[in-house]
């Protein structure tokens, strides 16, 4: 919220919301798993708005896919509306966008560039997209094979972009619970590409990816010989740093791999 205010916009926080369900239902007959998302969209409708900005990648993907499903199929929408007999009907008019889309389309990266007070000069950042923002193509916020949005953001903040072919690979997602070694190896593979090309750190947008690359990546150090995990940043942390906002809510000490050292070395803090 502090970031949006610093950029001169205002976002209103939703009063009532529930867990979106994380994955969109993949079978043709399964409508129940769309309920959670529809309920959120109804809450947006009830509060009199027609657009919702979502912070989490997986939520964006789920809400967008659900929205698409009910706007394409009138039957599904009616069934869901009838099931939720105590709530208002969802009319299908809410637009869902991710915070990155908001920054790119409504604020504009050039506006962000002008407001940067502490450019991330000298910091070599590898952008990592993961899956949910880019696939399936109907709900992607950028090109699924060659996305640019995070790279453009990094340039606007004054940093250097390190491009890698693994920037769109899946991090392992929920396997962090039942098959955590798989996710550790994934984190190692993805980060190694960046390390080999001289990246200092990784910038990403999904909270689960961050947990997997950060915590599981640190565990990969014991699985792969000679491997060292580079620090992982959530994109809003770097934006806040560049805009010169208060560092305390960023919780930089809570990372598994210490990010402060590299920021000090590059003279950013």
């Amino acid at each position: 919220m502090a970031i949006t205010e610093a950029l001169g916009h205002k976002l209103i926080e939703m009063e009532k919301w529930n867990c979106c369900g994380v994955v969109a239902s993949l079978t043709s007959d399964d409508l129940m798993h769309h309920l959670a998302s529809i309920r959120n969209l109804i809450h947006v409708q009830d509060e009199g708005e027609d657009k919702v900005v979502v912070l989490c990648d997986m939520c964006t993907n789920t809400l967008k896919q659900t929205n698409l499903r009910v706007t394409e199929s009138q039957d599904d929408l009616e069934t869901l509306n009838e099931f939720m007999d105590k709530e208002n009907e969802y009319k299908g008019n809410v637009t869902v966008i991710h915070f990155l889309e908001f920054l790119r389309d409504e604020v504009g990266f050039d506006v962000i560039k002008k407001k940067v007070k502490r450019p991330l000069k000298g910091l070599r950042i590898m952008p990592y997209y993961g899956c949910m923002l880019l696939r399936p193509a109907e709900v992607a916020i950028d090109d699924p094979e060659e996305p640019r949005i995070l790279a453009d953001l990094i340039k606007a903040l004054g940093g250097e972009v390190v491009d890698t072919p693994y920037k769109i690979e899946c991090c392992g997602s929920y396997h962090t619970i039942d098959q955590k070694d798989v996710t550790s190896k994934r984190a190692g593979k993805i980060s190694t590409f960046g390390v080999d090309r001289g990246a200092d750190c990784i910038m990403l947008s999904c909270p689960l990816c961050k947990y997997n690359l950060d915590t599981r990546g640190k565990e990969a150090e014991s699985l792969i010989d000679g491997y060292h995990q580079i620090p992982v940043f959530y994109y809003t942390q770097l934006i806040a740093l560049a805009l010169g906002l208060d560092m305390e809510p960023l919780d930089l000490e809570g990372h598994a791999v210490d990010p402060i050292k590299i920021l000090k070395e590059r003279g950013i803090v």
């Binding site: 798993h33 959670a36 105590k86």
Partner: protein, 249 residues
């Protein structure tokens, strides 16, 4: 629940022409009875001749034992209520649910910390919630059950405790949940964590407890225990109803 084979219903099945005004027809597990208007479900079932040996408790809407599932004639929807609090209506199809076999996790409240993931790590099934709202619709106390489970999932222990405050542990929510969540146990954990770690401690209580431990009231209690019964009655009759002055408590 009543023992059908031991106690016979004192009312036989009614004929249509015997239905007089002033009576409603109800069906207890499929068997038809006529009962006077104006009774609670519990009283009506007892009027029909059943004796409650389960599914009956305080008869005051507080213990959650008498959960009832009913359907009205010509309707398809299932409704939930407490038998001791709800009046009978014409054409009610009734059944009692005396017990819900919901598993409760074992934990030591002294060893828990009120952190974001605490409730989730003790009851991980709350992550299965699909927000279908069936629990809220099954609650006889009109609690927003889905919302307090969502708050517990998010780690907002205080809000979960606040929203689940009226819960009487009847178990209807847990019976109907497609994700096998035990809502009332989750709510209880939230309230316990809140009460122990998050709510403000009562300073007056601490002071009074210390006074008791220091023996401030020992002499008075000793006197009362050895006093002549007539004198006790006299003392009781002449007690002051208003709060005592400061320092004389």
């Amino acid at each position: 629940m009543s023992e059908n084979n031991n106690i016979e219903a004192s009312q036989q099945e009614t004929n249509d022409d015997e239905i007089k005004s002033g009576f409603y027809e109800i069906y207890v597990m499929g068997k038809r009875y006529k009962v006077p208007i104006g009774m609670t479900i519990m009283k009506a079932i007892e009027y029909a001749g059943y004796q409650f040996i389960r599914s009956c408790g305080c008869r005051a809407g507080f213990c959650g034992a008498c959960s009832t599932v009913y359907r009205k004639e010509d309707e398809q929807k299932l409704n939930f209520a407490l038998a001791c609090q709800t009046l009978v209506e014409d054409g009610m199809y009734l059944v009692q649910i005396p017990f819900v076999p919901a598993s409760k996790a074992k934990y030591d409240i002294d060893e828990l910390k009120p952190e974001e993931n605490t409730i989730l790590s003790i009851y991980p099934e709350i992550a299965r919630c699909v927000s279908c709202n069936t629990c809220t619709k099954s609650c006889p106390q009109d609690i927003d059950v889905m919302m307090y489970i969502q708050n517990a999932l998010r780690g907002n222990i205080q809000k979960a405790a606040e929203l689940s405050f009226d819960c009487i542990q009847c178990g209807m929510c847990a019976m109907r949940c497609p994700a096998d969540i035990k809502h009332y146990h989750v709510g209880q954990l939230a309230r316990r964590l809140c009460g122990k770690y998050l709510d403000e401690k009562s300073e007056n209580l601490k002071v009074r407890l210390q006074e008791v431990l220091d023996g401030k009231y020992d002499k008075e209690i000793e006197e009362l225990m050895t006093m002549d019964p007539d004198k006790v009655i006299e003392k009781y009759k002449s007690r002051s109803i208003e709060a005592a002055e400061e320092g004389k408590a």
